[in-house]
Symmetry: C2
Subunit: 230 residues, 2 copies
DNA sequence: CTGCCACCGTACGTTTCCGTACTGAGAAAA
DNA sequence: TTTTCTCAGTACGGAAACGTACGGTGGCAG
């Protein structure tokens, strides 16, 4: 019985850990790898340890926008839990690192045996749905700087150091805005001392200030997580 | 055994219908009634027949925006299914009419007895999450006219006639934009013959044209519904 | 060490939508 | 009828973000 870096795995009862662990494979996931493609069967469900994955919805052909972020607090492939093996969204690796994975079929088998595991994962499903809803809120009502602040905070929550390895270009795709807008906003953040920006990397310097800027656009799903999973 | 107007109830097996029906109460719901308040316990779960309910996320104090729409195709209170009795969102009646409701606790008891019912509701949960994700997409990338078209189509799907009883003011709150912007956009729709607008009422006149305008911002959750529930 | 390429900084005219506010019109109440 | 209230139409200046584009820079590959 090992102490898991993934917070869902760490929250499991010993019995559930015994059910899951024989099936978990450690994997290294490189940047930009797609772990779920739109409308394709989900083969594996991933429990991130140090990776951060983006759940991305398509709009039209090559037009994408992020709807959610999953790191060490969660799990990918929730659709498996909801009784289906595919979803219209895609999921891919935003920040590389390690994860544990399990075959989707194996997980479904285990879910039939353990109510407590299913309930834990459903509670995370609720948290994640809340996150998506708050993304809708932020996209509809927040200014770019607030959305950017929200993203940085969510990424920061899911990293060990204060560093997030990401380019402006990628961030722009995630937020559905111009690359140049991201550059300008990050510059302003840096001048205010919120972050230190280096090529392909953002270091959080003043988290409190970023939280203040994000205001109520950050924190709702995080509070739900704390309440329901701990 | 009656033929239900709610599509989820209509899709139930006879056994599940027998479990549920004794607990279902018909209710009339008036406009603007709140059936779920943020962070309050959900008392009843509603299966709309002719009502349309909005799921609304808060941003700050009195700043709201719609993240999803539930009508005769669905059910409110999905959070009950996810193992919790409250959620940060609120749900209220957008278009008045009839619904069937069941006490949340009674539903939870029944869910323990019927896997098939739980699976059906979870599949709807997946569809609804998809709808929220597409709301995030639309809020992030679509122009106001496209978002408005999307809303009209979704409301139209959930009404019997071609009429939707809604004011510009309400629509503006739902979409998180100015009331005046809605007026201007609806005017343009009317001049193009897409709709007929009367005081507090929109009548769909040329659905195809509205679909064309909404483009890929409409249809993703609807396709999931068809695929998973039918 | 040099060339290349991904990444970042900046600029400018344009579009979309906002904030605010005033006016008129339909419906319901007095 | 007259009043009152909600709802809809219109206007104007301004902010935010867009599309596009060009030049600079850090860092890796040859």
């Amino acid at each position: 019985m090992k102490k898991h870096r993934n917070r869902l795995l760490a929250a499991l009862s010993p019995a559930d850990q015994n059910l899951l662990e024989p099936q978990l494979q450690p994997v290294q996931l490189e940047k930009r790898r797609t772990i779920e493609a739109p409308n394709k069967t989900v083969d594996y469900v991933y429990f991130p340890e140090t990776v951060i994955a983006s759940v991305v919805a398509l709009c039209g052909r090559e037009d994408r926008i992020e709807v959610g972020l999953i790191g060490c607090e969660g799990v990918s492939g929730l659709t498996v839990l909801m009784g289906d093996l595919r979803s219209p969204n895609s999921t891919y690796i935003q920040v590389e690192g390690e994860a544990l994975r399990i075959e989707a079929d194996a997980l479904r088998t285990i879910l039939l045996k353990s109510n407590s595991l299913r309930e834990l994962l459903l509670r995370f499903g609720h948290v994640f749905t809340t996150q998506i809803a708050q993304t809708a809120v932020a996209n509809g009502r927040a200014k770019l700087e607030q959305r950017l602040a929200r993203w940085i905070l969510m990424a920061h929550d899911r990293t060990v150091a204060d560093d997030v390895a990401i380019t402006h270009e990628f961030l722009a795709v995630m937020l559905g805005v111009r690359r140049a807008s991201v550059t300008v906003a990050l510059d302003r953040f840096e001048k205010k001392g919120f972050i230190i920006a280096r090529r392909g990397r953002i270091t959080v310097a003043d988290r409190k200030a970023i939280e203040k800027l994000a205001g109520h656009f950050y924190g709702v799903p995080e509070a739900e997580f704390k309440r329901l999973i701990g």
